[in-house]
């Protein structure tokens, strides 16, 4: 086994759905030993969410759960029960990191707030991942991924381009899937590893308070920044004066026209039509002034895009992608999930790995977007079944098998 960055770091995860479990899984992939605590019987909420093989729901067959929880030991523990909290304290005494997502107030009730836990283990790092953070006037507000996407400002500028032109009066929409939840988990890894790094020098743990809404807003800095120039980006503002997301023969492509080279490349790609060679369609007139894009006449943009689309509709996304890149145009397919899974580039880099899960079977999963030359992430075990490692974890804490029977009967594990 190659060496890994976080070998020997013990993480306890008491978190649901995506952000917290994803944060813990990334650390596990990098070598940390993660014990995931789930509520007895019901388990993590993600077990109820698909995709399920053949669309048959089953708590041990959720693709979402499986993707977020490999490389972990799984135990059940009821923290609403005093005996459960005693067991939890024992786990915490040996841990380096706790990842938790309980609402403020509830954490104190369950005894997993930083003030309480730091007394048991001063070296402990507690990473809290909650919708609004643990402080401030919104801290007790309810949230779902939808309200995070909109409350962060990410939704206000979606959709855009041709969709906006077709439906200028319709509602803003969220970004795709649960991406904000995943990104919040990634933010939490940066913060947690920072706390681990500092602990190497100081010997002290600390509390890390991640707000999901802040984590998602943090990614829209570019859009927000133009407020300083008195401009509020909305669904009507476009990234590129011409080009952008365009229809082609068998789908869509994304063309980013910013430089002179890319504009000349596009003209070459579409066979240097007569209109494109006139002064009216020079780089200076069509593209330049990118930063002041709103000044480019909307009607003109549409007219040029229609010209380009005529050519696009005769060509496939695969052709436009490779031929366009050969002409020096920043262009990609608007890949659907099938295109992604079949991508030569992704597969050449080994992005997809087949994991064999006892209930799900063998399925290809997305893995890591980066290659570490020395401390490679690895998938060593599939996601745990509910309570799969109870015996292994609790006997290590000194519980005899008959104690576990008793705890089980009492609904503690």
């Amino acid at each position: 086994m190659a060496k890994q960055a976080f070998t020997g770091i013990k993480v306890i995860e008491y978190a649901n759905f995506i952000s917290g479990p994803y944060c813990a899984r990334l650390l596990a992939d990098l070598g940390a030993e993660v014990i995931k605590i789930e509520a007895p019987v019901s388990g993590d909420e993600s077990r109820k969410r698909g995709p399920f093989p053949k669309d048959v729901p089953h708590p041990e067959k959720s693709g979402l759960f499986s993707y977020l929880n490999w490389n972990k030991s799984g135990v059940t523990l009821n923290l609403n029960d005093a005996s459960g909290r005693e067991v939890f304290k024992q786990l915490i005494q040996e841990a380096d990191v706790l990842i938790e997502d309980t609402p403020p107030g509830k954490d104190v009730e369950l005894g997993l707030d930083y003030a309480t836990l730091s007394k048991l283990n001063p070296r402990l790092i507690v990473t809290s991942i909650t919708p609004f953070g643990k402080t401030g006037p919104y801290k007790d507000y309810q949230a779902y991924p939808l309200t995070m996407s909109h409350g962060s400002g990410a939704g206000y500028v979606l959709p855009c381009g041709d969709t906006y032109l077709a439906y200028p009066d319709r509602e803003p929409i969220k970004s795709g899937g649960y991406i904000g939840e995943y990104n919040s988990g990634e933010t939490a890894v940066v913060a947690t590893t920072a706390a681990l790094f500092w602990r190497e020098t100081s010997g002290e743990g600390q509390h890390v308070d991640v707000s999901k809404r802040e984590a998602i807003s943090s990614l829209s800095r570019y859009e927000f920044s133009r407020y300083n120039q008195g401009f509020i980006e909305n669904r009507g503002s476009r990234t590129f004066p011409v080009g952008g997301l365009m229809c082609c023969k068998d789908g869509f492509v994304e063309i980013s026209l910013m430089s002179k080279e890319s504009w000349l490349g596009l003209i070459k790609l579409i066979g240097s039509p007569a209109w494109a060679l006139t002064e009216d369609y020079s780089f200076e007139k069509v593209i330049k002034g990118f930063a002041k894009q709103e000044e480019v006449n909307l009607k003109r943009k549409q007219e040029i895009n229609e010209f380009i689309t005529c050519w696009m509709l005769e060509h496939t996304k695969e052709e436009i992608y490779h031929q366009g890149q050969a002409c020096g145009i920043p262009v990609t397919k608007v890949a659907n999930t099938q295109d992604v899974v079949e991508s030569k580039q992704y597969n050449a880099r080994g992005y997809f790995v087949t994991v064999d899960h006892p209930e799900i079977g063998k399925v290809k999963y997305p893995t890591w977007p980066c290659k570490f030359s020395k401390t490679a992430p690895a998938i060593k075990s599939p996601a745990p079944l509910l309570g799969q490692h109870n015996e292994q974890v609790y006997t290590k804490l000194g519980y005899a098998k008959e104690d576990l029977v008793r705890l089980h009967a009492a609904g503690v594990i």
């Binding site: 400002g153 899937g177 920072a194 890390v208 800095r221 920044s225 952008g244 880099r349 890591w368």
Partner: protein
């Protein structure tokens, strides 16, 4: 330059060759944790955004020093190497350019054997499409994410800035991992990150629906398979919207009560979650009738008071004036090139080593002299000579 509050990366020097967004955002996160970031910029051409859109530039290039070096000049390359010799970690997103200039990972390892190099590129440093060009919008499109953004049954959509920031944050995650490994073992390494693959990680479950069931995902608007109401509803005012998500029958009861239990809430077709999901178009119209005469913040308060998730679809002005963000000091103000700029802070609080924004972005070549003197111990004559031969600016 003011000093960072956070002591996490105190003494860590970052040499940053990156441009535009992803690399600079990675460096910003490291700088906010106390690292000293020295950004190397061209002597010949200013930054496109710094010239054309200073507030954009300043949204991401904060907390750093800047030296201008001509990396096509052999003396310039030597200066860069000298800087790297004093550094701990190199951040770059120049897609193979550094190798061509003699500053690739192997070259840098010869200068400093334990150097860490974090390379971010559009499609990764290996594979048949490694040299392909693109911007955030392209990476998001190529990742599968664009294909699921849009109204239900309609076109896919472009996403603008976030793709770059996602990649930058992931580069910071890789950087912290490599720094931790270095702290424990003294060993450096190279990390090769694909900005496109970063985006795909965040739609893992949707990709799995293809690898498991062969189903290709399509745009779903604001919809959720298991929840309704679950949408954005128009409110009073121009382009004002409230997002509302009702996640259980218990929350539905609270929602009905909060809006005054109108007769339609008793309809059989809205009686349970599955019926509401099935009849969501009709349900959305009813909900909109209630929201349309109210301010979005007012709706948020009415619904949150009973424990129903509701947040306005906020615009930039509302984000910068958000009372929660202000309370948590997530909004900062810096003076950049004589102008006040509102900027977002760092999206996590650390109880003992809080990250912060402590300095506005640099102007072109702003710290060249200072870095030459204090980091490289050059004399005024040496600096003048290098400037005369245009190796530095």
């Amino acid at each position: 330059m003011s000093s960072p509050t956070s002591q996490v990366l105190k003494g860590i020097r970052v040499i940053d060759f990156s441009l535009v967004v992803a690399g600079p955002f990675c460096s910003l996160l490291l700088a906010s944790l106390g690292a000293e970031v020295i950004h190397i910029h061209s002597t010949k051409k200013d930054d496109m955004n710094r010239v054309g859109s200073p507030s954009r530039y300043n949204a991401v290039s904060l907390n750093r020093l800047e030296i201008a070096i001509d990396l096509k000049n052999p003396d310039g390359v030597e200066i860069a190497k000298k800087l790297i010799k004093t550094g701990d970690i190199v951040i770059e997103n120049r897609a193979g350019l550094l190798e061509k200039l003699g500053l690739g990972y192997e070259d840098l390892k010869a200068v400093k054997p334990d150097i860490i190099v974090i390379s971010g590129s559009g499609f990764g440093g290996t594979g048949p499409e490694k040299d392909y060009a693109g911007f955030a919008t392209n990476f998001v499109a190529a990742s599968g994410l664009s294909s699921i953004i849009g109204y239900e049954g309609d076109l896919p959509n472009e996403e603008r800035g976030p793709g770059d920031f996602r990649a930058g944050q992931y580069m910071a995650l890789a950087a912290m991992t490599a720094l931790f490994h270095h702290k424990r073992t003294g060993e450096g390494q190279h990390v090769d990150l694909s900005m496109t693959e970063v985006q795909s990680c965040g739609i893992g479950d949707i990709i799995l629906d293809y690898t498991m069931n062969g189903r290709v995902a399509a745009p779903q608007g604001n919809n959720d398979d298991y929840m309704a109401p679950h949408n954005c509803y128009r409110c009073k005012g121009e382009d004002k919207w409230i997002s509302i998500a009702v996640g259980s029958d218990a929350e539905w009861k609270k929602f009905c009560q909060a809006i005054g239990n109108p007769a339609w809430t008793k309809y059989e077709k809205f009686a349970d979650m599955l019926s509401r999901v099935k009849n969501r178009e009709e349900l959305d119209k009813k909900v909109s009738k209630w929201t349309i005469d109210r301010e979005h913040y007012e709706v948020m308060e009415i619904l949150q008071a009973v424990g129903v998730a509701a947040m306005p679809s906020l615009n930039a002005a509302e984000i910068f004036n958000d009372k929660q963000y202000k309370e948590r000091k997530f909004i900062g103000e810096v003076v950049y090139n004589g102008e006040k700029n509102l900027v977002l802070g760092i999206p996590f609080i650390m109880s003992k080593t809080p990250p912060d924004i402590y300095h506005a972005s640099p102007l072109w070549a702003q710290d060249t002299d200072k870095i030459c003197k204090s980091v490289l111990s050059m004399s005024d004559e040496e600096i003048k000579k290098l400037k005369d031969e245009k190796a530095i600016k």
